[in-house]
């Protein structure tokens, strides 16, 4: 017998195999309440939003702009961003804690599979649930904007296909960030509720405050908040036709960041929280 080093066992492989990702996908997809909320916040929300606008427009076209007016595209994008963030955080925190709270974590560790692989499997599994649904909702928004728009009535030029694609990628990136942060924080704390509350507070209260108020001697700290960096990358189509980015814009009061700094902050949040979650996963007593 060999003297063991009392350190973590050597992992077979840190790469999660496809069946393991599929297994986690199954676990998440079968959570009825979570899936209802996810579909509601990603798909049903824009459908209802545009449906109401369409009804208003049909009832009084002179008073109400067409459903697909450019400002509606920006409003729908903001709604999908905010509610999508919440549901992405909830999904991430669930993915990060469900095995633990359901008692499956112990079974999974006993299989001998690398704990890191178990953690990493949650990322593609969760994003496979979230991103396609968000894409469906955003596609609804794009179709309405493309086919039910009236530039003259709205007084603005509808976003081009390229601009809409950019907006879609930005929204998806925001969801990826929210999911990975929720996953990492959930894994760290071992429970779902507090991480979701903390990240909603960050998104709804702290980020807008930090993006619009310059705090003396804390400007660099403000810039490290991922929401601030994301706001500066926000496409013009989602900002009501006005680009808020390098150079600044309405609503953004702090001096703009260089693009490389924004990207560094965003990647840092994704990788940093993933590392924290993975570390906790590999060192936690099961």
């Amino acid at each position: 017998m060999t003297q063991h080093s009392l350190t973590a066992g050597r992992a077979l492989s840190w790469l999660p195999p496809v069946p393991l990702i599929g297994a986690k996908f199954l676990d998440l997809r079968k959570r009825t309440v979570l899936m209802i909320v996810t579909v509601a916040f990603t798909v049903a929300l824009p459908v209802i939003f545009y449906g109401i606008r369409l009804l208003f427009h049909l009832s009084d076209p002179a008073r109400y702009a067409p459903a697909g007016a450019p400002n509606a595209f920006a409003t729908a994008g903001t709604l999908m961003d905010e509610f999508g963030f919440i549901v992405a955080v909830a999904l991430g925190a669930t993915a990060g804690t469900a095995d633990l709270t359901d008692g499956m974590f112990r079974h999974l560790v006993i299989t001998g599979r690398s704990r890191l692989a178990l953690y990493l499997a949650r990322i593609p599994a969760g994003l496979s649930v979230l991103l396609p649904l968000a894409a469906v909702g955003f596609t609804v928004s794009c179709l309405v904007t493309a086919f039910l728009s009236s530039p003259h009535a709205a007084g603005a030029v509808p976003p081009s296909p390229g601009a809409m694609a950019g907006a879609g990628l930005w929204l998806e990136l925001d969801l990826v960030i929210a999911f990975t942060v929720g996953l990492g924080l959930g894994s760290l704390m071992g429970q779902r509720t507090v991480p979701v509350i903390l990240l909603i507070v960050l998104e709804i209260i702290l980020t807008p405050a930090l993006a619009t108020h310059v705090l003396p001697y804390f400007l660099d700290g403000q810039r490290l908040v991922v929401g601030v960096a994301m706001d500066q990358l926000k496409p013009a189509a989602l900002a009501g036709g006005t680009r808020i980015g390098p150079g600044g814009g309405p609503g953004l009061q702090i001096p703009p960041m260089p693009t490389w700094a924004m990207i560094t902050v965003i990647i840092g949040w994704i990788l940093g929280w993933s590392a924290i979650g993975a570390w906790k996963m590999t060192t936690r007593d099961a």
């Binding site: 003297q3 063991h4 080093s5 050597r10 499956m104 079974h107 001998g112």
Partner: protein, 332 residues
């Protein structure tokens, strides 16, 4: 300090098993293992040898450190010191390799309640990899869960979850099963069924380590046992040897049990006397049981006590366990 019973210096492999001393003789091999929680040692310098192909009981009262040792063995928590191996493979250094042929239930088996039994097994099979997925059907059949495999686990009884836990173990086609209180929550029929399943697994040449406080079940299921208390293994060996060392007993039916106890106690001719409603249970000292039974009869008749019957019995695991633990209590 851990002590191993001198009457049984080491567990004996079954016939056909490799001779001791060779690498890989033992399904579980632990030396000097210690796990502390703060100042308290939950596992205190434990040595443990489990021979391959045996049913091995790991006994102890609640809080004795049984589950902690199992958790350390399986890599669920880390040890503070010591060496250990499963199936001859050192852990945690090669934990993944060692656990590839190990199935285990630790504490109460819990699963994703919103998924069916079969879906839970699919998740675990995906984590195991290899051909574990092909073992789902046979594992469900063997644990008699096939009919309920597509029901949600939230609707399962405790006994069904225990069986699902065993099915999860079988996905590995395990050479070693480590089961923590597998009889918990089972009704008598379920316990009988579980016992038969475990014996069947041992008969196939697999090793079963059974942690329990249900002495009767362990005695019926296991070949060998280790007793753990306060984090230490205090006795270890084949059940027949350990209970044999505890001595035989005679049940005495008589007219005056308290008076009989006094008559036999002055001078003492037995290692233990227990008064019951209808008589006495006298644990005999070493030596001829027939002669001692005759001496008991003579003494009672001489004391004017009517003897209605003398029935020799063998010490059971429970008697031995209680004698060991009571001895410990006296030492403390």
């Amino acid at each position: 300090m851990t002590t191993i019973d001198e009457t049984s210096p080491s567990p004996h492999p079954r016939a056909g098993q490799p001779a001791s001393g060779q690498d890989g003789d033992w399904a579980v091999e632990v030396h000097g293992l210690t796990k502390r929680f703060g100042a308290r040692a939950a596992v205190d310098n434990v040595d443990l040898l489990v021979p391959r192909g045996s049913a091995f009981g790991y006994l102890g009262p609640n809080g004795a450190g049984k589950t902690t040792l199992i958790r350390v063995l399986l890599g669920l928590t880390r040890a503070d010191s010591g060496t250990m191996s499963l199936l001859g493979v050192p852990v945690p250094a090669q934990r993944g390799r060692a656990l590839a042929r190990v199935g285990a239930i630790v504490d109460e088996p819990r699963f994703h309640g919103h998924l069916t039994g079969r879906q839970n097994l699919k998740i675990l099979a995906a984590a195991r990899g290899g051909d574990a997925g092909q073992q789902i059907g046979p594992a469900l059949d063997r644990t008699r869960l096939t009919q309920r495999a597509d029901d949600k686990v939230s609707a399962y009884s405790m006994g069904m979850r225990q069986r699902l836990g065993l099915a999860a173990c079988l996905l590995a086609d395990p050479q070693l099963l480590i089961l923590d209180e597998p009889m918990n929550g089972l009704d008598p029929a379920g316990m009988h069924e579980m016992r038969d399943m475990l014996r069947g697994l041992v008969d196939e040449g697999r090793t079963v380590v059974l942690s329990s406080h249900l002495l009767d079940e362990v005695e019926r299921t296991c070949d060998q046992v280790a007793i753990v208390d306060h984090g230490q293994v205090i006795r270890q060996g084949p059940i027949s040897e350990l209970t044999g060392a505890a001595g035989a007993a005679v049940e005495v039916q008589c007219s005056d049990p308290p008076g009989a106890a006094r008559a036999l106690g002055q001078p003492a001719i037995a290692s233990g006397i227990t008064v019951t409603e209808v008589g006495l249970t006298v644990t005999l000292a070493a030596g001829s049981a027939r002669e001692q039974a005759a001496e008991i009869n003579r003494r009672l008749v001489a004391a004017g006590i009517s003897v209605y019957g003398l029935r020799p019995t063998h010490a059971r695991l429970e008697d031995w366990f209680l004698s060991v633990t009571s001895r410990l209590g006296e030492e403390q």
